[in-house]
């Protein structure tokens, strides 16, 4: 078997007194959709942040393609091809969709102006519009700040941003939480499309229907540890719920 695309072992992370992760493991193989599930507070978002470089673990190891890595910053995870739709979306409400889309990797004008740091707003707007349209995110205006968008539109912008930039892995932390039935369907289709283009997806969700519909595998976190792994095709709803609540334990640390 080839080395996992992304692997985490024994990740520990505390916030003051709260132990968010107590030796969590995680495995992602190339080209698969993994659902990361667990009860509220199980540590899913914390794990996603650590694997995206947004937080640093207190201890534990991360490997990309079997090579150990340390993500000191978001940029380092990005350069490994990892992008994330955060649960809180991580959008700047006062910036336009394009401003958010290109946040931290702004396009500059060619030539001298660019060397002075002058932004190429037209190009950024154009590419944002393209990406949003491709994903079916409807925006009335490209100039309006994100704060004027509906919750679903904001989520659409965040998803489009991550998917557009991701080279190898996209984390999606409850990407359909604010979406209607139709838009949720669209995001699920998008996840399949992303996988088919060769980018692995980690879907964090509380919706078991969605999980069953789109994932290849399921990993279950409970109280900061991975407690079970399943092939989606062969797992029942009861097993998933049982693993999340602690009724069944398949795996302890390992």
């Amino acid at each position: 078997m080839s080395a996992p695309l992304l692997e985490a072992r024994g990740i520990v992370k505390s916030y003051g007194q709260v132990e968010a992760l107590r030796g969590a493991d995680f495995t992602l193989l190339p080209g698969e959709v993994v659902a990361l599930i667990g009860d509220n507070g199980a540590g899913k978002s914390t794990l996603a942040k650590i694997l995206s470089g947004a937080e640093r673990p207190d201890s534990g190891e991360i490997a990309v393609d079997g090579e150990p890595v340390v993500f000191g910053s978001v940029e380092e995870a990005r350069s490994a091809g990892i992008e994330t739709v955060y649960q809180d979306l991580a959008l700047c409400p006062d910036l336009s969709p394009a401003g958010n889309f290109f946040l931290g990797r702004e396009l500059l004008k060619p030539g001298l102006l660019g060397r002075l740091g002058v932004l190429d707003n037209a190009a950024m707007r154009g590419r944002t519009k393209e990406a949003c349209e491709r994903l079916g995110v409807q925006l009335k205006s490209q100039a309006a700040p994100v704060s004027t968008l509906s919750g679903g539109q904001r989520q659409g912008v965040a998803v489009a941003r991550a998917v557009t930039w991701a080279k190898r892995v996209v984390f999606m932390d409850e990407p359909t939480a604010a979406l209607g039935v139709l838009q949720t369907q669209r995001v699920l289709d998008l996840i399949r499309g992303v996988r088919d283009s060769g980018v692995a997806v980690v879907l964090i969700s509380h919706n078991m229907q969605d999980v069953k519909a789109v994932s290849d595998r399921v990993e279950v976190l409970r109280l900061g540890r991975r407690v079970a792994r399943f092939d989606t095709a062969r797992v029942s709803m009861e097993d998933l719920v049982g693993a999340m609540t602690g009724a069944i334990e398949h795996e302890n640390g390992r």
Partner: protein
């Protein structure tokens, strides 16, 4: 969409208020208000404050505040005077003022960004330190600027307009463009809008904050040198409300104290409104204390409008 229009409208509104003020005073006292002599007076009164307010605009857009500008201005002027006294070089004086201001600003930035101390407290502290330091260095007695500075740059004109005003206008214009059009400006807005999102977007938030406070300090240092040239003395006790004037100008100009929103153009208008009021009231013979009352009321109104817009947005 709505809010963009509202924001744009706010700059248009205050521009209209300024225009109305200018018009009213010109109509009421055509012989004295709208003379080129008086308008030049207005411009040169506003010029130095404009530098402080432009730096303050950047800082407030990051959702910060800089109370130290007046103290840094005075300290830099004192440092420059000492250097010029010992070296006799105006150029070294200017450089030392700018560098001193920059150093104070960087100190503010480091304490805010790395020390995680609220900007209000940090800059209140450095205000005290810089003002106190200036008093210690001078023994509380104003130092005089070298005559060739006061009579040179202090009086020099290009096309009839004081050189100092040209310098301030040019710097303000460059910084207005930088804020609106460059990556540096974009990151300034992003940090004020949602610092955590900016960090997760890959913006080096701490480094950027240090630069923004450094810029505000640098501008205060330059303002110290220019005010030395203009007034001929260090003015150790004349700048204790500069910070409030600058903040008032920025806020009247439509920049949000909550960060993420604002323009230098608005700030320019916000600088001129109090100056025009003061000048107009003087010419009309209205007691000058009214200016403070009116500016205070405008300030409260500006913040009220901002709050109201935020409230609508966050619903």
């Amino acid at each position: 969409m709505d809010r963009v229009r509202l924001r744009d409208r706010q700059v248009v509104w205050i521009a209209a208020v300024l225009a109305l003020l200018l018009l009213t005073f010109s109509v009421l006292r055509p012989g004295s208000f709208a003379t080129s002599f008086n308008l030049l007076n207005l411009v040169s009164d506003a010029a130095i404050l404009l530098l402080l307010a432009t730096g303050m605009t950047y800082v407030i857009i990051t959702a910060g505040i800089d109370l130290s500008v007046g103290g840094v201005l005075v300290f830099s002027a004192v440092a420059a005077t000492k250097i010029m006294e010992t070296t006799g070089s105006l150029l070294l004086g200017a450089a030392s003022a700018v560098l001193t201001g920059l150093a104070w600003g960087l100190l503010n930035g480091v304490l805010v960004a790395k020390g995680r101390i609220p900007a209000l407290i940090v800059t209140l502290g450095t205000l005290g330190m810089s003002l106190g330091g200036a008093l210690l260095l001078t023994g509380g007695v104003d130092l005089r600027a070298p005559g060739d500075l006061n009579l040179g740059l202090g009086l020099a004109r290009w096309l009839g307009v004081p050189q100092i005003a040209w310098i301030c206008a040019a710097i303000t214009a460059v910084l207005a463009l930088a804020l609106a059009r460059t990556r540096f400006g974009r990151h300034t807005y992003a940090i004020g809008s949602n610092a955590e999102a900016a960090r997760r977007g890959g913006v080096a938030v701490n480094r950027h904050l240090i630069r923004v406070y450094g810029l505000a300090g640098l501008l205060a240092g330059l303002a110290g040198y220019l005010s030395l040239a203009k007034y001929g003395i260090t003015g150790v006790s004349a700048h204790s409300t500069d910070n409030l004037q600058a903040i008032a100008a920025v806020v009247i100009g439509g920049t949000s104290l909550f960060g993420g929103v604002g323009t230098v153009v608005g700030t320019v208008i916000g600088v001129f409104i109090p100056v025009v009021l003061q000048n107009g009231f003087q010419i009309l013979g209205v007691r000058p204390f009214w200016q403070q009352v009116v500016v205070g009321a405008v300030l409260v109104a500006a913040v009220y409008v901002d709050q109201w817009q935020r409230g609508r947005r966050d619903q």
